[in-house]
């Protein structure tokens, strides 16, 4: 069974600065997908960014980018120019065959 570990339960960052959230996973599979989801306080979870394991190029979505290290089984999320609206819980997810395994999340607080 796959496991996903987010080793930082809580993080904080000053507005406009950059922060990196860590995620590691364990799998024997070669083809899979990795996702970061954002869950704002009392609001629904939404997709932030996705990465296909067969792609070597790191995914980027505006201020969000990932550092995907397949051999190390690491998938970190970098948020540049942090905004107050980025305050949320962030979940890393490993997905294969439509079945997702989530980490326990990192609570990110962006301070003004």
């Amino acid at each position: 069974a796959q496991t996903v570990t987010q080793s930082q339960p809580e993080m904080s960052v000053q507005e406009a600065e950059t922060v990196t959230l860590s995620c590691t996973y364990d799998t024997s599979e070669n083809n899979y997908y990795l996702f970061w989801y954002k869950q704002p306080p009392s609001r629904q979870m939404i997709l932030v960014i996705r990465q296909e394991a067969y792609k070597q190029q790191n995914a980027t979505e505006n201020r969000f980018s990932v550092n995907f290290q397949k051999a190390a089984k690491s998938f970190s999320l970098k948020i540049s120019d942090s905004q107050l609206g980025d305050t949320a819980m962030y979940f890393c997810a490993f997905t294969r065959g439509g079945k997702s395994t989530f980490g326990d999340g990192t609570t990110l607080t962006v301070k003004p």
């Binding site: 996903v4 997908y33 629904q44 979870m45 997709l47 294969r96 997702s100 999340g105």
Partner: protein, 115 residues
């Protein structure tokens, strides 16, 4: 495009009572998931449907939980009888087919408190 609809948003019951949650996925999404999210943890998959068939229910406590997906569209998750440890947010998510099944769109969740 309408999102994933869930109801009720909040429910408080006594232990040993029953409760049902409803989910309406995004139109055309073949795959539907129910996740349980206990406070401070990530979502845990309970059951996965493809159209109206069950793909994976290995983590569903079948002695008390049941789920169905009517005509491959709406879904209902039932708990009977509820236990204190069932207090959680129940998230419904849907996905497309093929690669799309891997990209989840979540509903707002149904928060259950068992007293």
């Amino acid at each position: 495009e309408a999102g994933v609809a869930q109801s009720p948003r909040y429910k408080i019951i006594e232990k040993r009572q029953s409760v049902a949650f409803w989910c309406n996925p995004i139109s055309g999404h073949a795959t539907l998931y129910w996740y349980q999210q206990i406070l401070g943890q990530g979502p845990k998959l309970l059951i996965q449907f493809q159209n109206n068939g069950v793909v994976d229910d290995s983590q569903l406590p079948k002695d008390r939980f049941s789920a169905e997906r009517l005509k491959g569209v709406d879904s209902t998750l039932k708990i009977q009888p509820a236990k204190l440890e069932d207090s959680a947010v129940y998230l419904c998510a849907s996905g497309g087919t093929g690669y799309g099944a891997n990209v989840l769109t979540f509903g707002a969740g149904s928060r259950l408190t068992v007293l």
